[in-house]
């Protein structure tokens, strides 16, 4: 499964980046979302995959049963998911406002601040 997941991760990165390089500002955000999915899955995969147990301590136990999934990457990903949600939401509003102000969704038309 690692290989399969690695392909998916690679695919998410490639797709995300490809979309970000479009001129359409909407595709830029879709690309960003795909990119963050890619990063999350990458952490998930490289933390080690276990099909078995979720990291919950049984009612009668005091420690996590051996063979449970690694809880740390999960916690990291949870943090990362929430952060990327925050960023995506903000970015969406930003794009919305930019479109209102500039009346275009073409990124190539948004070059005035560099010149």
């Amino acid at each position: 499964m690692e290989l399969v997941l690695a392909v998916i991760v690679g695919g998410l990165y490639a797709a995300g980046i490809y979309l970000m390089m479009r001129r359409n500002i909407v595709k830029l955000i879709i690309g960003l979302v795909l990119l963050s999915h890619g990063a999350n899955l990458l952490i998930f995969a490289s933390g080690g995959l276990t099909r078995a147990q979720s990291p919950l301590i049984a009612k009668d136990g005091h420690v996590l049963a051996p063979g449970s999934a690694d809880p740390l990457p999960q916690a990291l990903i949870l943090t990362a998911i929430v952060i990327s949600f925050a960023v995506t939401a903000f970015m969406l509003v930003l794009v919305h406002r930019t479109h209102q102000e500039a009346a275009t969704d073409d990124l190539d038309a948004l070059t005035t601040t560099d010149r």
């Binding site: 990119l35 890619g38 952490i43 990291l76």
Partner: protein
């Protein structure tokens, strides 16, 4: 008890910001909170720095979970210096904002955002955990996204799109690198990582990861060829925002580079640090040439930020005690000088109503004290003795010559002349050249407002002079910081306990 000092630089801005948000309808409360918070932060930072200098590296394990399992907050001298200078800039900017920020932005949570920015910056300087560093980066970035776009004027939004996108790419690369690193080494604590990365790990992966971190932090630090977001956006928000960005944000990237490339990735210095050296040379040159091509006060300064980053990482790349000390000193120097130049441009704007060099003039005649402050900061930036910049430049040049890296020394010296060139360009156009026949009408607040804005300007100009005249103290401090950086065992020992070595 004592190590609570380590928490304060994060906690104070957080509480200030959260309180201000609860009272988000009252601008007056937010202003008061911002001032109190900024002063408290500076005091806490000074106390922390004093303790670190006296007692060595300070560590606090958050939640009392022992390292490497919890999150460690670590303050070595370098961190402490950075926190202090960040707090000082925070106070200067808050005071400046009281007089220069428009009412609308103030009422839309400008001050809490500024506090969150400071919190993220301080967190990044103090954390000893790589993932936690990511989180602080995000805190800082999110606050900067909002500050950059706050107001919603078209240039702001255009700049913000580029700024946000490219910084998110950096975050994605950073996050991926952390994930891979965790997959291989199974830890996140930097001290622990340092031990393990220098143990059995294959150097190939260490070097590959080093390159990923170089790109991730390099984007944030705005090194060549990753700096595009900076000149595209920095000149668009109100000047107080630009000033604090210019002073602190890229420096956090440089800080991160210096941290990981002294602590974690020293397996293949011959390769990694040579790459950094080459990039530092290009960063200096492209930045200063970019500045030479501009004709707007803020844009010239903006490109200079990039150029100065080249010097900062030059010290890292040379990787000798003097070179790293040079970088540390340079960092403090450039934060002060650069922030002040932006603040001065803001005063100019408040007085003349424009940033265009072509429309400015006559300030030398009409505003002698502003002229003096500009002269000091500009010459400091160009490395003219006896101001701060000279000692910074000298340390790096001497370190480069010691190591026989003549190319980078030539670049550094040449760039300093070009820096002088563009500073005199501003000087000649805005200050010396005859001004418009009728001076522009002053905005609201008039002279009183300008005098108030001059307070932080004068203080920072004074700091540039003091850092030069009192260079022995600051160089000594930087040398001690650099010695700590070059001896990771001190850091590791402090975090993990002596027996970990």
């Amino acid at each position: 008890m004592s190590n609570w000092l380590l928490t304060l630089p994060i906690l104070i801005p957080l509480v200030t910001a959260a309180t201000s948000l609860v009272f988000w309808r009252s601008v007056r409360t937010q202003r008061a909170a911002a001032v109190i918070g900024a002063i408290a932060l500076l005091l806490a930072a000074l106390a922390l720095a004093a303790r670190v200098d006296a007692e060595g590296i300070q560590v606090m394990q958050a939640g009392a979970w022992e390292a490497p399992f919890g999150i460690s907050l670590v303050a070595d001298l370098f961190s402490a210096i950075m926190v202090t200078i960040a707090a000082a800039m925070g106070l200067a900017i808050v005071y400046y904002s009281l007089w220069s920020m428009d009412r609308e932005r103030e009422s839309f949570c400008y001050y809490p955002l500024l506090q969150v920015l400071l919190m993220g910056v301080c967190g990044a300087f103090l954390t000893g955990d790589l993932f936690n560093l990511y989180v602080w980066f995000e805190v800082m970035l999110m606050a900067s996204f909002v500050l950059l776009s706050l107001g919603g004027e078209r240039p702001q939004l255009e700049g913000a799109i580029k700024y946000v996108t490219l910084n998110l790419v950096s975050s994605a690369v950073f996050l991926s690198a952390v994930g891979i690193l965790y997959g291989i080494v199974g830890s996140l604590n930097m001290a622990d990582l340092a031990v393990k990365l220098h143990g059995e790990t294959e150097p190939v992966m260490a070097t590959t990861l080093a390159m990923m971190f170089l790109v991730a932090f390099g984007i944030k630090a705005a090194i060549f060829p990753l700096f595009f977001w900076l000149p595209a956006s920095y000149h668009t928000p109100p000047i107080a925002v630009t000033a604090i960005f210019a002073g602190l944000l890229t420096k956090v990237g440089v800080y991160a580079l210096m941290r990981v490339f002294t602590l974690l990735f020293t397996q293949d210095v011959g390769f990694t640090h040579t790459v950094i050296l080459v990039l530092s040379g290009f960063t200096m040159v492209t930045g200063v040439l970019g500045a030479a091509a501009q004709n707007e006060f803020r844009r010239i300064l903006t490109f200079h930020i990039v150029s100065q980053i080249g010097y900062l990482i030059m010290g890292l790349a040379l990787f000798t005690p003097l070179a790293l000390a040079g970088s540390v000193y340079y960092m403090v120097h450039v934060i002060i000088a650069k922030t002040n130049l932006f603040l001065i441009s803001g005063v100019v704007h408040a007085s003349e109503g424009t940033y265009e060099l072509g429309k400015l003039g006559g300030l030398y005649k009409r505003r002698p004290y502003l002229s003096l402050a500009f002269m000091i900061s500009a010459l400091a930036l160009a490395g003219i003795p006896p101001l701060s910049g000279f000692f910074a430049k000298y340390s790096l040049v001497a370190a480069g010559l010691d190591r026989g890296s003549y190319g980078i020394v030539a670049a550094a010296l040449g760039v300093s002349v070009l820096t002088l060139f563009s500073m005199t360009k501003i000087w000649a156009a805005a200050f010396w050249a005859p001004g418009p026949a009728e001076p522009a009408a002053l905005g609201p607040g008039g002279e009183r407002r300008i005098r108030a804005m001059m307070v932080p300007v004068a203080a920072l100009a004074g700091a540039s002079v003091a850092m030069g005249v009192g260079a022995e103290y600051f160089i000594g401090l930087s040398l001690r910081a650099s010695a700590q950086l070059l001896d990771p065992n001190q850091y590791i020992g402090a975090v993990l306990g002596r027996n970990a070595l």
